[in-house]
Amino acid sequence: MAMPETPSTSSLGQKMLSIPRGVWFLLLIVLATVPQFVTMTIPNIPEDSSAALYKELMTLPEGSTVIVQTDWTKSTQGESRGQFDALMRILMRKNIKFAFMSVADPQAPEVARNALKELNLERVKNGEREYKRWEDYVSLGFFPGAEGKGKEIGESMLDAFKASKDKDQSNVERSVLESPVMKGIEKVGDLSAFIVLTGTKSITIALERLHDKVKMLGLVTGVMGPETVNYYTSNQLKGLSIGLKGVYDMETMMQFGANHADSSGKVIYYMKKFTDDIPNWEGKKNLDRGTRYYLTLHFTIGLMIIAVIIGNVGVLLTRKKGNA
């Protein structure tokens, strides 16, 4: 009886399919590391939503107050930290006061405080004014019931945060409503913006309750991007940064401005949605994690595409040989 012919284990198709897992992981780690040592900006066209966010942030009135709902932790740090840094750099450079709160994760307030500490150190090192807790920013706390808190904020800021306390300059715990940050803020509409930075659905919960009462801006992860972008196209969000591309957009616009001519008169980024001249931050640290990670991401995605091609070609060759 004739035995069916089985493909030889040394065929090219088999070899392609049997590349050890360790080799792929090693390649991935090398490609996720080496490009980080290269300082290079790759060509970019900022998304409309990122450009709108940059414009809204850059046109916030100096000295006004915003709420930053920070719902990211170490689990989305790759994208959220870059977004947080870019957002904070703009707010601090424009002397915007901010109050931050969290609704998604108990670790979120501390993660934000630590990141803020590092940014403050960077400011002091660069000879800029230190952003002071109580005077310039306060922590409103962690609120596990996002739906209830959103509703409360929409009705009255005084009621929503009357129990929240933070330490003043002399380290005494006082109601946040007594702080210079919250002075004159009685309803959510008194804020110049309500900014949500998240890797979760907390942005939709906030939008459902507040978008018609205050200007809302969002910075979300790549996973949350596709379902959040609807809120930008329907104008419920006035600006939106999505994932690492969003971080890179923000950083490059901080570096080159939007519709803004440099010293040689050249405009790097023309915006489709608006014609206002939004300046850059000359001589400041603008390009950071987003720029470093975005280049690296291209290498890792390149590896994934190669892996998918090798796998598919391997399967095709093996089947072809099996059929023959």
Binding site: R21, G22, F25, L28, I29, A32, T33, Q36, F37, Q77, G78, E79, R81, P106, Q107, P109, E110, G141, F142, P144, E147, G148, K151, A163, S164, K165, T204, L207, E208, R209, H211, D212, T221, G222, V223, G225, P226, E227, N230, T233, S234, N235, Q236, I242, G243, L244, N259, V267, Y270, K272, T275, D277, R289, R292, Y293, T296, L297, T300, I301, M304
Partner: protein
């Protein structure tokens, strides 16, 4: 490297290696760091819930506070004490005999949530439905030109027109919306070939959407790895070990 910050970062690097060691295979080193991580997260959540939430929002309101001169700064309201048995009732879910008690706090939460949904639904979807109504017919058969930065009259003219490129984009959006909605018409039998074709198109377009979402998800996972590599090679190795940073 032997400063507090240096030790902290080194600890983080060892933990990162420990957690990534599962890529090689399941091992005790990985298990150890997984449990450390879970323990830290649970402990942190407990303390934060008390400090940031329960104490200011419940305990302080219940017991009030006393000023430095000994007078009452804020009076306490004893009725807040009723929150405790309601909250603790949730733990009856672990009792077979009295599990029904555990449904009381859940029912309260669901009731509060449901009450909000009427308003929320309108707030969420009405602007999106409004934004779906877009012009499909062009008033100018060309591509939308670059808006000039210094010519407000030309800018206004450009914005008044619906260019062919915009109309095509709007048409694709409208076809996608209608065909995807048609795909979810499960209540009636769709016999006409047109409707069957529309629902099939809706299914394909949904798959395109899921593909885009999957792509975003993959990018995010890569970014997590890139961030860890940044922590190990830049923040720890370059800045701490080589002494170029902190």
């Amino acid at each position: 490297m032997f400063t507090f910050v240096g030790m902290k970062f080194t600890f983080g690097v060892i933990a990162t290696f420990g957690l990534y060691s599962v890529l090689w295979r399941e091992n005790k080193f990985y298990r150890f760091w997984e449990h450390v991580f879970l323990g830290l997260a649970a402990g942190w959540a407990l303390v934060t819930l008390w400090i940031e939430t329960l104490k200011p929002l419940w305990w302080d309101k219940m017991v009030g506070s006393i000023a430095e001169n000994g007078n009452t700064a804020e009076p306490g309201f004893w009725a807040w004490a009723f929150m405790l048995p309601i909250g603790l009732a949730g733990y009856f879910v672990f009792s077979r005999k009295h599990a029904w008690v555990g449904r009381v706090p859940v029912a309260i939460i669901i009731g509060l949530w449901s009450g909000q949904q009427f308003d929320v639904w309108i707030q969420k979807y009405w602007p999106q439905m409004n934004a779906s109504m877009v012009p499909l017919f062009p008033t100018n058969f060309g591509f939308r030109p670059q808006v000039p930065l210094d010519n407000p009259v030309l800018k206004a003219t450009i914005e008044q027109n619906v260019y062919l490129s915009q109309a095509i984009g709007n048409l694709i959006g409208t076809i996608t919306l209608l065909s995807v909605l048609a795909y979810f018409l499960f209540g009636i039998e769709l016999k006409s070939k047109f409707m069957q074709g529309t629902t099939k198109l809706g299914r394909y377009l949904l798959m395109v959407g899921f593909g885009a979402i999957f792509g975003s998800t993959v990018m995010m996972r890569f970014t997590l790895l890139i961030d860890r590599m940044y922590f190990i090679w830049i923040e720890w190795f370059q800045n701490i070990v080589m002494g170029r940073g902190i």
